[in-house]
């Protein structure tokens, strides 16, 4: 028991702070990148739409090491390799589909006549997006933000390749656990893992509870 207390007292929480910082910045940047992309895709009937959709969804199926390898090649010779900024760029690419897909499907499920009524009212696409589309797709937007945040916290492969494991710079929680296991600090690894497990569960639970409430609410109205 004393062991645990001592370990807890001496536990370095910077990897967690770094994970949250990375996830927060990535989610923030991605929201503004994915919003116009998802909006355009949801309104598009273009023949190249499937190509763009496939490209955006690549990180879901691609091994993180493949993405990491390509990024390392692109970043080669710059200061981006093994830096926090490099990590942010990599995370934005890696988490792009997790932000774009919920947004796009939210926009697509919106009653078409609502959007058309806004155009007929003389409003541009941009005003329609901010005054009509976004306020009426809040659940999808919230889901996109939370899933992207959670997914970025859960990153491992890309982060390992691009960031390495520089303390206070690129050593995020998932990497820290891997290293603790490697150096047989099992107690710390347990505590870190339990915290990650709890956070991940809480995030998913909040998304599902929110969606459940939304569905129920829509059902009675």
């Amino acid at each position: 028991m004393d062991d645990i207390l001592i370990t807890l007292k001496n536990l370095d929480f910077t990897p967690f702070i770094l994970s949250f910082k990375l996830a927060g910045i990535t989610t923030f940047i991605l929201f503004f990148i994915a919003l116009p992309v998802a909006w355009r895709l949801s309104q598009s009937r273009s023949k190249i739409k499937p190509i763009i959709e496939s490209f955006i969804s690549l990180p879901i199926v691609l091994p993180p090491s493949v993405l990491g390898f390509y990024l390392l090649t692109v970043f080669d010779g710059t200061a981006l390799n093994f830096s926090f900024i490099g990590l942010v760029i990599a995370s934005c690419i890696y988490s792009l589909p997790f932000m774009t897909q919920p947004l796009q499907s939210g926009f697509e499920s919106l009653n078409r006549s609502m959007i058309e009524a806004s155009y007929i009212a003389g409003k541009s696409q941009l005003i329609t997006l901010f005054k009509v589309v976004i306020p009426n797709t809040k659940p999808a937007i919230l889901t996109a933000i939370i899933i992207t945040f959670a997914h970025t916290i859960g990153e491992f492969g890309v982060v390992l390749m691009i960031g390495g494991s520089i303390p206070n710079e690129t050593k995020v929680a998932s990497i820290a656990i891997y290293e603790m296991h490697d150096s047989m600090e099992y107690l710390s690894a347990h505590i870190y893992s339990a915290i990650m497990l709890l956070i991940s569960f809480m995030v998913l639970l909040s998304v599902y509870i929110f969606n459940h409430k939304q569905k129920y609410f829509k059902g009675v109205s």
């Binding site: 009653n111 006549s113 609502m114 058309e116 155009y119 007929i120 009212a121 003389g122 009426n136 109205s221």
Partner: protein, 262 residues
């Protein structure tokens, strides 16, 4: 004067067809568009609104609308499924179109919605929603009012009330109106002129009386049952049992027209 001369290829349930409409409508007219589903009625409205493209000419009061964006066309549109902005109250729905509080107040009073002006659309009944949609369509003081089956989702009482309100507003604003409808009573009560579309072509054009009375000595319906020489015919929502004396016995499910003049 509104001149329409348009053409568009459509891919309907019955395969490809060409929508070809050539019409001239006087200012202030109330035109009903009717015909079977898939005849191109809604598409015609959507083309006028700029929501769909087409080949040809649309001219409204001497101005070509061909290259005019949806936003710049002076139209009001009433959708079958309302299309209200769910995040805005009744009054905000109107003011979103134009910040004209006096007009909004007047429209809400005409349609007896004043007490509901702060309610969100999802708390309203179908009839109330459609009245809000109607008011919203007038907020731009449109040159053209386009309505796509505005009454089809409503119960009979609601329907009659809304018919009256549409007529009051139509008179008040003198807006040239296009209404797609399946319902003969709607058309008869409201429209000054009616066109019948069949597979994309205008097959009949005149006053409701002229168009609907041409078949007054004939009734058509669907054959539901054949019993020897007696057949059961579905006419509108009524069943007619008739003795049939003809060389050609009709088939089950066939649509037949019979002469009722004695």
């Amino acid at each position: 004067m509104i001149k329409i001369d348009i053409e568009k290829e459509l891919h309907g349930a019955s395969g490809a067809m060409n929508l070809e409409v050539n019409l001239e409508i006087k200012e202030g007219e109330f035109l009903a568009i009717t015909g079977e589903s898939g005849a191109g009625k809604s598409t015609l409205l959507r083309i006028l609104a700029g929501l769909e493209s087409s080949k040809g000419e649309i001219e409204v009061h001497g101005k070509s609308w061909n290259n005019l964006s949806i936003q710049k066309r002076e139209i009001g549109f009433v959708f079958q499924e309302y299309g209200l902005f769910e995040n805005m109250s009744v009054e905000q729905n109107l003011l979103y179109v134009a910040k004209d509080k006096t007009l909004a107040k007047e429209l809400l009073a005409t349609t007896e919605l004043t007490n509901l002006k702060n309610r969100l659309p999802k708390t309203l009944s179908g009839g109330q929603k459609q009245r809000v949609a109607l008011c919203r369509a007038f907020m731009k003081r449109p040159k053209l009012l386009l309505m796509d089956e505005p009454l089809s989702a409503l119960n009979p009482t609601m329907r009659t009330n809304l018919q009256d309100e549409i007529l009051i507003l139509h008179k008040k604003f003198g807006t040239t109106t296009f209404m797609v409808s399946h319902d003969t009573s709607d058309i008869y009560r409201m429209a000054s002129r009616v066109i019948v579309l069949e597979l994309g072509k205008v097959v009949n054009n005149g006053t409701p009386k002229e168009v609907f009375s041409t078949n007054k000595s004939k009734i058509s319906g669907e054959v539901l049952q054949i019993n020897g020489e007696s057949i059961l015919l579905l006419v509108g929502e009524q069943l007619l049992e008739l003795n049939y004396h003809a060389d050609k016995i009709p088939k089950l499910g066939e649509r037949i027209t019979i002469n009722t003049s004695l």
